[in-house]
């Protein structure tokens, strides 16, 4: 918990946003604590980017308010923007400038000058493996390098809160690993990290708390462990001695996959029991030689929460 008297990193209250007839955000309430690694998940069109754009001051809400470290993103936009760094989803760059120029200009927008900030910019270049590209024009960089420059630009003013909007979309495995190592380091240094991603295993391994959005609303907001406990189903994998030609009727609705003598059952927590499945197989003459169970992961929870009302 954020201690009493200390402002949350992000506070969102009653946020609504309309784009014409589309009600993109339908009353979002959210608090992200200082120092938290927070995941914001949801299918395309759920409203994640709209919410981020409002926090960043790139879009204005129709109702409600948003604060970064206690600063209103509209009323106290200067302080709010100084406290926030955003890595945008799209790879965008200014083709007129070199990497070092881009970083110096971005720092200058925040009124930062002098050797201290220059050293920090060089450190960012080194950490993000861009030191040898400092004098290269942005146009000449690969997609992955441009993505790293975007991260450096977002961090050039050492913001307390860093929002990464799908930073690993289209990024190769090696770069993704180095990027997460860097983000983990930022988190360890005390930065609040907000992450949106479609790679749910990333959110599962990194985030302390996760909000799941759907249709402009937050449908779930909890710790990762609590969300995983919400999973309604678990998987039972069974190997039989002989191939199963005909399944007992009681198991037909539960089987998810079957290849000769290997069966995969999707079981409802609380109502379906593993001994009953095993007993039904034994009663129909099959000998079980091996079995494993798999607990639900974040992807299962995500799908359950986002598809429940469809």
């Amino acid at each position: 918990m954020t201690p009493p008297g200390v402002e949350a990193a992000i506070t969102v209250e009653g946020l609504h946003k309309h784009f014409g007839k589309v009600h993109a955000l339908r009353g979002i309430d959210l608090k992200v604590r200082r120092g938290e690694f927070f995941g914001l998940l949801g299918p395309n069109g759920a409203g994640k980017s709209t919410l981020i754009n409002i926090l960043a001051g790139l879009t204005r809400a129709n109702a409600g308010r948003a604060l970064i470290c206690g600063h209103d993103v509209v009323g106290a936009y200067r302080q709010a923007r100084r406290a926030l760094g955003v890595v945008p989803q799209e790879i965008v760059f200014d083709p007129f400038f070199t990497v070092r120029e881009v970083l110096a200009i971005q720092a200058g927008y925040f009124g930062l000058k002098g050797d201290d900030n220059k050293r920090w910019r060089e450190e960012l270049l080194t950490t993000l493996a861009l030191a040898d590209k400092g004098c290269a024009n942005m146009r000449s960089l690969s997609g992955g390098m441009k993505r790293r420059v975007l991260i450096a630009q977002a961090l050039v003013h050492r913001p307390q809160v860093v929002i990464l909007d799908e930073p690993t979309a289209g990024v190769d495995v090696e770069l993704r690993a180095s990027l997460w190592a860097f983000v983990r380091r930022l988190h360890a240094e005390g930065h609040t990290i907000v992450l949106t991603t479609h790679y749910l295993e990333e959110a599962e391994s990194l985030c302390d708390r996760i909000a799941i959005m759907k249709d402009g609303q937050i449908t779930a907001l909890d710790t990762k462990e609590a969300l995983l406990r919400r999973a309604l189903r678990k998987t039972l994998c069974v190997t039989t001695l002989d191939p199963v030609a005909v399944l007992p009727p009681a198991l037909l609705a539960k089987v998810r996959r079957q290849t000769e003598n290997h069966l995969e059952f999707s079981l409802q927590k609380g109502t379906d029991s593993i001994p009953e499945v095993l007993e039904a197989l034994r009663a129909s003459g099959h000998v079980v030689v091996d079995l494993t169970t798999e607990q639900a992961d974040l992807e299962d929870v995500f799908l359950e929460l986002t598809q429940r009302r469809q």
Binding site: L58, P88, V92, Q106, F110
Partner: protein
């Protein structure tokens, strides 16, 4: 550097890096106009008493170049940044509406001045153009290019596609700059056209700027200065309102 000075510097650096296109090309264009008109109307007396026609042309061509380049600088920078998406880096910064506006307009004025100096230096190789009133020269140069820089901000904010901006430039700025007395004196026009010309604010920029060189003009210079200053205030207020609201920027 402050946020404002950084954006101002960045906008200057942006046109400086392509100076061949942004400075040299307009100077050459103005020089071509001058050479063609000079050879066509060689020996002809000017539209102003005692001023040779070729000399008469020089301030008009300078101001026309300033008008067009000031507009082009702010408008093209904004539309390119909007379409490429890199405007986000400015919008994410703590820059105020006024800082944003002044930086774009300031850089537009600097480019306009560079072009004007280039045209003047090239022109005096062919014709003598003495300066009578430096104050008016500088005042009209600054206010005129600032007004068109502000108009460029409006166009750049409003336009969502390159063709919309090209339409604004080709159907508003270029006609108004050509029909503002660059090539003729107001007194040479029929009464109807003279009356119509007087609603064109660019006419007062060129007429006043010309006064700075020759000490004579169609409209009293202080009247022209008032009109140009009024136009600058009007377009600046509109531009500030649009940027402040985030019109087509923060949506």
């Amino acid at each position: 550097m402050t946020g404002f000075s950084t954006l101002f510097y960045k906008e200057i650096l942006r046109f400086y890096k392509v100076a061949f296109q942004t400075i040299l090309a307009p100077v050459v264009t103005a020089l071509l106009y001058l050479l063609v008109f000079a050879s066509t109307f060689k020996g002809r007396t000017g539209a102003l008493p005692g001023v040779p026609y070729v000399a008469f042309l020089v301030p008009g061509l300078m101001m026309m170049s300033m008008i067009q380049n000031a507009f082009a600088n702010s408008s093209s920078s904004l539309i390119q940044s909007k379409i490429a998406g890199n405007l986000i880096f400015i919008l994410l910064s703590p820059l105020s509406t006024l800082e944003f506006f002044l930086a774009f307009v300031g850089a537009a004025v600097v480019r306009a001045m560079c072009v004007a100096v280039g045209v003047y230096v090239a022109a005096i190789l062919f014709v003598s153009v003495p300066v009578h009133h430096p104050f008016f020269l500088v005042a009209f140069g600054l206010l005129g290019s600032a007004a068109l820089g502000a108009l460029g901000v409006i166009a750049g904010v409003w336009a969502e596609r390159f063709d919309q901006l090209a339409g604004f430039q080709n159907f508003v700025v270029v006609p108004l700059s050509f029909l503002s007395g660059v090539f003729y004196s107001l007194r040479a026009l029929p009464p109807v056209w003279r009356a119509l010309s007087k609603v064109n604010p660019l006419l007062y920029m060129i007429d006043g700027f010309r006064y700075g060189f020759f000490g004579t003009s169609d409209v009293p210079p202080l009247v022209s200065l008032g009109v140009v200053a009024g136009f600058l205030v009007a377009v600046s207020l509109l531009a500030l309102a649009l940027v402040g609201r985030g019109y087509r920027l923060r949506n």
